[in-house]
Amino acid sequence: MSSDAIDMTEPDGRRHPPGDLAIWVFILAELAAFALLFILYGVVRAKHVELFNEMQLTLDRNAGALNTVLLITASWCVARAVAAIRKGADGASARWMACGILAGVGFLVVKGFEYSDKFDAGIGLDTNLFYMFYIALTFFHFMHVVLGLLILGFLLLKTLRGGYSADDHLGMETGASYWHMVDLVWIVLFPLVYVMR
């Protein structure tokens, strides 16, 4: 399925990850921060199962699922944008990137409505342990989506200006890798916080 990958094969037959190596160090640091939060969530939940199960019912699972669909779709579009630029199709790459950005913005809109509902109901970080984790985890992730969208916007502008080609698209791979990390984190966050009980 990764037949579109550019050839960066090392003598041992294996490649470096796509994009700049520095972004992968950053990605690992981000993943470590989220791992800490996820592990804390699981450990604290185990001590307060009834509270977490009761509070989970007050979340909008449909909004969470819709946001999962939006992020997965955004990630797919960005992967398609990278595959297109590898073939030198910068027009198609820009269209895929724009669709990815739209889906990502859709995520922020849905999450905004969710936050608005909760804040209107007087829910905040100090409501209880569940909501402290819910807000901390989802808002930390929300900020990553915002940063990811800024990066995708930059990639789109550069693509429209002809800044990437089949031979030169390391920057797009770098930004795309960051975006997929944001998607990966949500794929764990949604079942953990919204569904598992």
């Binding site: 399925m1 490649r15 569904v195 598992m196």
Partner: protein, 87 residues
Amino acid sequence: MKSPISGLDVVWLLLLAGTAYTWWLGESGHAGTGTMMAILAIAGVKGALVIRDFMALRGVKLLWQAAVFGWLILVLAVNMAAYWNGN
């Protein structure tokens, strides 16, 4: 002639199917150890697909694959253990 369907499209459809099943498990009120394991297994498969095909880590140096796949396994395994411990 090359198929217009990319491998990335198949991955996207699989991710959507996994999300729909997870949503359904939640909506239908399923709970308990079996459901928890199914939910975490689906998250594991979805995460692995994103890492392998969207992040394109398939075929890269093993250390990078181990770091990212290891992250996924660690997070899901700890939550599974915590669930068993708490429920």
